[in-house]
């Protein structure tokens, strides 16, 4: 048995205390995950409501345009957030974590961003970055990218009030022509074991997807469109233009929540596999320790009996 008794014992103890830490962190992450999931549920009620109304109104607005003009016409009427203009600059909002110990969460998000840039032929001259989270901020700065907005220290369960500034900034920059398209790169939470990294186009808002949403709703609920059911105050177009920013904000906030949920899930998973690994190591070390102890005892007995034989 090569390992000395004391050395094995020291490693065993240190692995045990590491395991204690990772188990505790796993529990903390799971608790945070539960909190953020509850919050997401209440947010979802709000987001669905806003989306349903906007979709219904946009649909009836399109119906009123008799000779189905192009979507540009719609954009001009009801707000610049629908504006599909020639793309000179692209904005990417990247959501990463502030802390480490979240497994491959950050590297996956960054990888998905870089893949998207490669696919669309984006480089540092035609892309600006908005970054939430330390890891992403540091990475893209080191790459020499143009980071126009950064934020760190978003809390574990971000409320709308807390991140309102970030959300509005992202929408505002689109309207100010800082960029002509806004992508958000984040990790979408599927369930506790699975997340999908995605880089999606958020702005301009796609009229087509709203139309599809409304079609699906009408098919399912067998209700009339909202315009014929409700009286609108003020008129249709004004109503839509006041709803659009609210909708855009709710989309961006939804992505932030989704990313946070995924971050906690990923952290809980990373800590779980760390604890599992520690368990493996502990059982190997325990075996080594027992063997070393047994070897020591055997040696001792041999020596004693050896001594006894010598005396006879």
């Amino acid at each position: 048995m090569p390992a000395s008794l004391a050395a094995v014992k020291r490693r065993l103890e240190s692995t045990r205390s590491t395991r204690q830490i990772t188990t505790a962190m796993q529990m903390v992450s799971t608790a945070k995950l539960n909190q953020v999931q509850n919050h997401t549920k209440t947010y979802q009620v709000y987001a669905d409501e806003v989306k349903a109304i906007l979709a219904s109104l946009v649909k009836s607005h399109i119906a009123t345009l008799k000779n189905k003009e192009s979507t540009e016409k719609i954009a001009a009427d009801i707000g610049s957030l629908f504006d599909e203009r020639p793309v000179k600059k692209v904005g990417i909002l990247v959501m990463t974590s502030d802390r480490g110990l979240v497994g491959s969460y950050n590297s996956n998000v960054i990888k998905s961003t870089l893949d998207m840039m490669k696919k669309n032929g984006l480089n540092k001259d035609n892309t600006v970055f908005l970054t939430i989270g330390k890891t992403g901020t540091e990475f893209f700065k080191k790459q020499g990218m143009n980071v126009v907005f950064e934020d760190t220290g978003v809390s574990d369960v971000p409320t709308y009030r807390e991140v309102e500034g970030i959300v509005k900034k992202a929408v505002q920059m689109f309207e100010d022509h800082v960029y002509d398209q806004l992508y958000i790169s984040y990790s979408h939470f599927v369930n506790r074991m699975v997340s999908h990294d995605r880089t999606e186009l958020f702005l301009p808002i796609s009229v087509k997807s709203l139309e599809e949403h409304e079609d699906a709703r009408v098919k399912k609920a067998v209700t009339n469109d909202i315009e014929s059911e409700y009286e609108l105050e003020p008129g249709l177009i004004d109503m839509i233009s006041s709803l659009v920013p609210q909708y855009a904000n709710s989309l961006v906030y939804g992505a932030i929540l989704d990313a946070k949920t995924s971050e906690h899930a990923s952290s809980a998973n990373a800590m779980k596999s760390a604890s599992d690994n520690a368990d493996d190591i502990i059982s190997t070390l325990q075996l080594q320790y027992n063997r070393a102890r047994q070897a020591a005892i055997t040696t001792e007995i041999t020596e004693i009996t050896g001594g006894m034989t010598a005396q006879e």
């Binding site: 919050h39 947010y43 709000y46 309102e164 059911e229 009286e231 609108l232 105050e233 004004d238």
Partner: protein, 141 residues
Amino acid sequence: MADATFHVSIITPDGTVYDAESTMLIVTTQTGELGLMADHLPLIAALKIGELKVLHADTGDHDTFVAVNGGYVKFNGKDAEIIADSAELQANIDVQRAQNAKERAEQSIKHAREVNDPDELSRAQVHLARAVNRLRVSNER
């Protein structure tokens, strides 16, 4: 005769702020104040940054005052839903914070006027309107 009641709920991204029965609801829409009672015509109205009053004549409870930042109200005759990106009940308004926000907004309005930045000006005006609205609602009796 007791007034008919209807259900009022205020929904924000941070959860449902308020959820109760009422006899009359007064909101500040973009075209002016609007009172809603049970069986009012189905209506969707865009709201301004303003005050919202929920009256409880039937139970004799105190009226509820809420500071609402935009959004809209959707009323189908029986249920009124207010969907806004933020709304605070009178009791939950942080007066100190609103006061600070008001001063900050006034300063940036001044600054925006000096450097002639229409975007900053309009944003600062929105902030000011919100702060003033919160302060006003917090002083209602």
